[in-house]
C-alpha cells in the first residue's frame, strides 16, 4: 500500500473547479507535484493536509483518512505558499509558537526552534524580526516551521520561491535527505528544474485533473508519439545535415542561430543515437556536443499540458 492514497478526489468551489477525479498513489520518497497556476496543486495539498474537505472521493495517509483527523496532523508538515506573516515576531518566537501549536512543551519548542533555525542556516536571524527578513529568509523560516516537528509526511507548496541559489541548493538537499530517510515528501512547483533537482517522481496536474504520474522517464514513454529534439554542436553542420537527411528516423533538420549548431527532430531517438558513433568513426564528422532537449521536466510538462 502506498503511504498516501488519493481516490477519485474532487473539489468544486461553487462553479469553480478545484480538482476533479484525481486518483494517485504517493510512495515514501520525494514526489514532485507539477502544474501551471490554477492546476489544482494547492487545492490538492490543502485536502491532503486536512484543511478543506473534498466533495467526492477521499485520501488517506498511512491508511488514516485525512479529513477531520486532528491527530494525523501531528505527523504532517506543511509549508504553504504565503509571503508575509507575523512580521513583528522574531524567527525564534515564530517557530516556538508553531512548535507549541504542534503540542510541544515551551522548553522543547524553544530548543526545537533553535535547532531548526540552525539547520536552515538562520543562526544570525534568530532574534531578528521576520519583518526584516529577506524573501529567501522568509521562505526558509516558513520551510523550517514545516519540518521542525520531524514529520513523517511533508507537503511543500512552492518551497523555493524567492530563495537565493545557495538557499535553493541547501533546501533541495534537505528535501532529498528527507526522502532518503523514508519520509514522504510532496513538493509542488511550477519551476520544473527545481523539482528535477530533488526527484524523478512526479504527478502532473492541469485544469484540476491528473495528467500523468510516475517517473519522468516513464512518462516520457507515454508520450513517445511526440518527436524528440537533439541539438548537435559541430563545426561541419552542412556536411552532417547532408548525411542525416538520409536517415529514415530523422524527421526534420534545422539550423540553429549559433553557426555550429543544428537541431534534429526524430521519432526514434534510440536508433538515432546508435548511428552517431558511425558518423564519427566512418564519416569523420567532428561532433563537439550532443544535448537532448526533451529529457527535462519542462518538456515533459509542455507535452502533457499542450
Amino acid at each position: 500500500m502506498a503511504y498516501i492514497e488519493i481516490k477519485n478526489l474532487s473539489k468544486w468551489y461553487g462553479q469553480v473547479l478545484g480538482i476533479s477525479g484525481v486518483t494517485a498513489r504517493i510512495e515514501p520518497g520525494v514526489t514532485g507535484l507539477l502544474g501551471p497556476n490554477g492546476a489544482g496543486k494547492s487545492t490538492l495539498l490543502k485536502i491532503l493536509t486536512g484543511q478543506i474537505k473534498a466533495d467526492t472521493g477521499g485520501a488517506t495517509i498511512g491508511g488514516i483518512p485525512v479529513w477531520n483527523h486532528i491527530k494525523l496532523y501531528e505527523i504532517v508538515g506543511f509549508c504553504p505558499d504565503m509571503e508575509k506573516f507575523y512580521e513583528r515576531l522574531t524567527g525564534l518566537e515564530f517557530l516556538t509558537y508553531m512548535a507549541r501549536l504542534h503540542g510541544m512543551s515551551k522548553s522543547k519548542a524553544m530548543q526545537t526552534a533553535r535547532d531548526t533555525l540552525h539547520t536552515m542556516g538562520l543562526d544570525d536571524a534568530v532574534n531578528k524580526r521576520i519583518g526584516a527578513y529577506s524573501k529567501g529568509m522568509r521562505q526558509r523560516v516558513k520551510f523550517a516551521q514545516a519540518i521542525m516537528h520531524d514529520p513523517e509526511v511533508l507537503f511543500l507548496d512552492e518551497p523555493m520561491q524567492g530563495m537565493d541559489p545557495l538557499g535553493r541548493l541547501q533546501t533541495a538537499e534537505l528535501i532529498r535527505d528527507y526522502g532518503q530517510r523514508g519520509k514522504t515528501v510532496v513538493v509542488s512547483s511550477h519551476i520544473l528544474n527545481e523539482v528535477e533537482d530533488m526527484t524523478n517522481t512526479i504527478l502532473v496536474l492541469n485544469h484540476g485533473q491528473l495528467l500523468a504520474e510516475g517517473d519522468v522517464h516513464e512518462i516520457r514513454e507515454l508520450i513517445d508519439e511526440q518527436p524528440r529534439h537533439v541539438r548537435i554542436t559541430t563545426p561541419e553542420r552542412r556536411k552532417l545535415s547532408n548525411i542525416l537527411i538520409g536517415f529514415p528516423e530523422v524527421q526534420t533538420i534545422s539550423f540553429e542561430d549559433a553557426p555550429d549548431e543544428l537541431m534534429v527532430q526524430t521519432m526514434s531517438p534510440d536508433a538515432f543515437y546508435q548511428r552517431l558513433p558511425d558518423l564519427v568513426m566512418k564519416d569523420k564528422i567532428t561532433i563537439e556536443q550532443i544535448s537532448t532537449l526533451d529529457d527535462n521536466l519542462e518538456s515533459v510538462f509542455d507535452y502533457l499540458v499542450k
Binding site: Y3, Y13, G14, Q15, V16, G18, E27, P28, G29, S42, T43, K46, T49, G50, Q51, I52, G62, I70, K71, L72, Y73, E74, I75, V76, F78, P80, D81, M82, E83, K84, F85, Y86, R88, L89, Y97, M98, R100, L101, H102, G103, M104, S105, Q145, H149, E152, V153, F155, G179, Q180, R181, G182, K183, T184, N200, T201, G214, D215, E218
Partner: protein, 295 residues
C-alpha cells in the same frame, strides 16, 4: 523508481492535551497586543472612568473629609450614593471603552491571517477551527473583561475595603452577578460581530469602518424610524431591536432594575442578541476556510 524502506511510524511522544490548544493562540495574541505602546495608552484611557468611580467610592466612604472641605451638600451626597444605579452607570459609561477595545483588539485578528494566508498555517496544525476561533475570540475577550467586568467587581471590592465592611460583598452578591451578566451582554455579541467582520475582509481599515458603521448607523436609523412611526399603527419600540447599543442599554436597565427606555419584553432583546451571534457564527463558519475562491 527508487524503493524505500517503509520506516515511517506515528509519533508516540507526549503532546499537550487537545482541549488547551486554543490557549496558545489566545496567549500569543494577548501578549502581542499588549506590546503595542499605543494600545496601552488607549487601555489607560478606557480605565479612566474606573479611576474616577474609585475616587467616588473613596469619597463616599470618607464623608468626614467632605464635611471638612464643606462639600457635603445634598447634590454631592446624591452623586456619592453607591447603589445599583452607581454600578449600572459605570457599565453604561464603559460601553464606549468596550467598543474601543473590541475595535483595536479584534478588527485585524482574522483579517491579517487572511491577508497573509496564515490561516493555512493554523489549519494544517493539529488544532481545530474551533480552537482557532476560541483562541482568537479570547484576545478581545481578555481586554474587554479588563475594562468592564473586572473593574466593575473591583469597585465593589473597593467599597467593602474603604468601609471595612466585607459583608457588603456577600449582601450585594446580586449586584456582582448583574455586573458579570451585563458585561457578557456587551462582550459576547461585540466579539462575535468583530470576528465575523474581520473574517470577511483582508483589510484592517475595512474591518474598522464596517464595525463602526454597524455600531453607530443603526442607532441613528432607529431614532429616525422611531420618530417617523410615532403616529402610526406600528409599534416603534420594535425598531430598538436593530441597534446593538440600544439592546445593550435596554438589557442593562432590566438587569439593574432601572427605568427601561423601550416598552418591550427583555426576551425580545435577548433573542435579538442570540440572532446576531448566530449570524456571526454562520459567517465565521463560512469564512474560516483554508481556501478563497477566486471567481
Amino acid at each position: 523508481m527508487p524503493v524505500y524502506e517503509q520506516t515511517y511510524s506515528h509519533y508516540e511522544g507526549e503532546y499537550r492535551p487537545r482541549s488547551l490548544a486554543w490557549t496558545l493562540i489566545a496567549r500569543r495574541g494577548i501578549i502581542q497586543t499588549w506590546r503595542k505602546k499605543w494600545f496601552r495608552i488607549i487601555l489607560m484611557f478606557c480605565l479612566a472612568p474606573f479611576i474616577i468611580m474609585t475616587l467616588r467610592i473613596y469619597l463616599a466612604s470618607n464623608m468626614e473629609l467632605l464635611n471638612l472641605l464643606e462639600f457635603n451638600t445634598s447634590a454631592v451626597k446624591d452623586i456619592l450614593n453607591i447603589d445599583e444605579k452607581f454600578y449600572h452607570t459605570f457599565l453604561l459609561i464603559q460601553s464606549f471603552p468596550c467598543f474601543l477595545m473590541t475595535l483595536f483588539t479584534g478588527a485585524d485578528l482574522i483579517a491579517s491571517d487572511r491577508r497573509t494566508k496564515a490561516l493555512t498555517l493554523y489549519l494544517s496544525k493539529p488544532i481545530t477551527r474551533l480552537d482557532y476561533l476560541f483562541g482568537k475570540a479570547s484576545i478581545p475577550c481578555f481586554y474587554l473583561y479588563l475594562v468592564s467586568m473586572i473593574p466593575g467587581l473591583f469597585l465593589m471590592f473597593f467599597y467593602a475595603f474603604f468601609n471595612e465592611n466585607w459583608m457588603y460583598l456577600w449582601e450585594n452578591r446580586q449586584i456582582a452577578g448583574r455586573i458579570v451578566l451585563l458585561s457578557h451582554v456587551y462582550i459576547i455579541p461585540m466579539i462575535a460581530l468583530i470576528l465575523a467582520i474581520s473574517s470577511m475582509t483582508r483589510s484592517k481599515v475595512s474591518a474598522v469602518v464596517m464595525f463602526c458603521v454597524i455600531s453607530f448607523v443603526p442607532d441613528t436609523l432607529v431614532n429616525i424610524l422611531y420618530n417617523l412611526v410615532q403616529e402610526t399603527w406600528i409599534n416603534p419600540d420594535y425598531f430598538s431591536l436593530f441597534s446593538l447599543n440600544t439592546v445593550n442599554r435596554q438589557l442593562g436597565a432590566v438587569l439593574f432594575k432601572q427605568e427601561i427606555p423601550y416598552d418591550l419584553h427583555w426576551g425580545w432583546y435577548v433573542s435579538a442578541l442570540a440572532v446576531l451571534v448566530a449570524l456571526c457564527g454562520l459567517i465565521l463558519n463560512k469564512q474560516i476556510r483554508a481556501v478563497e475562491v477566486v471567481k
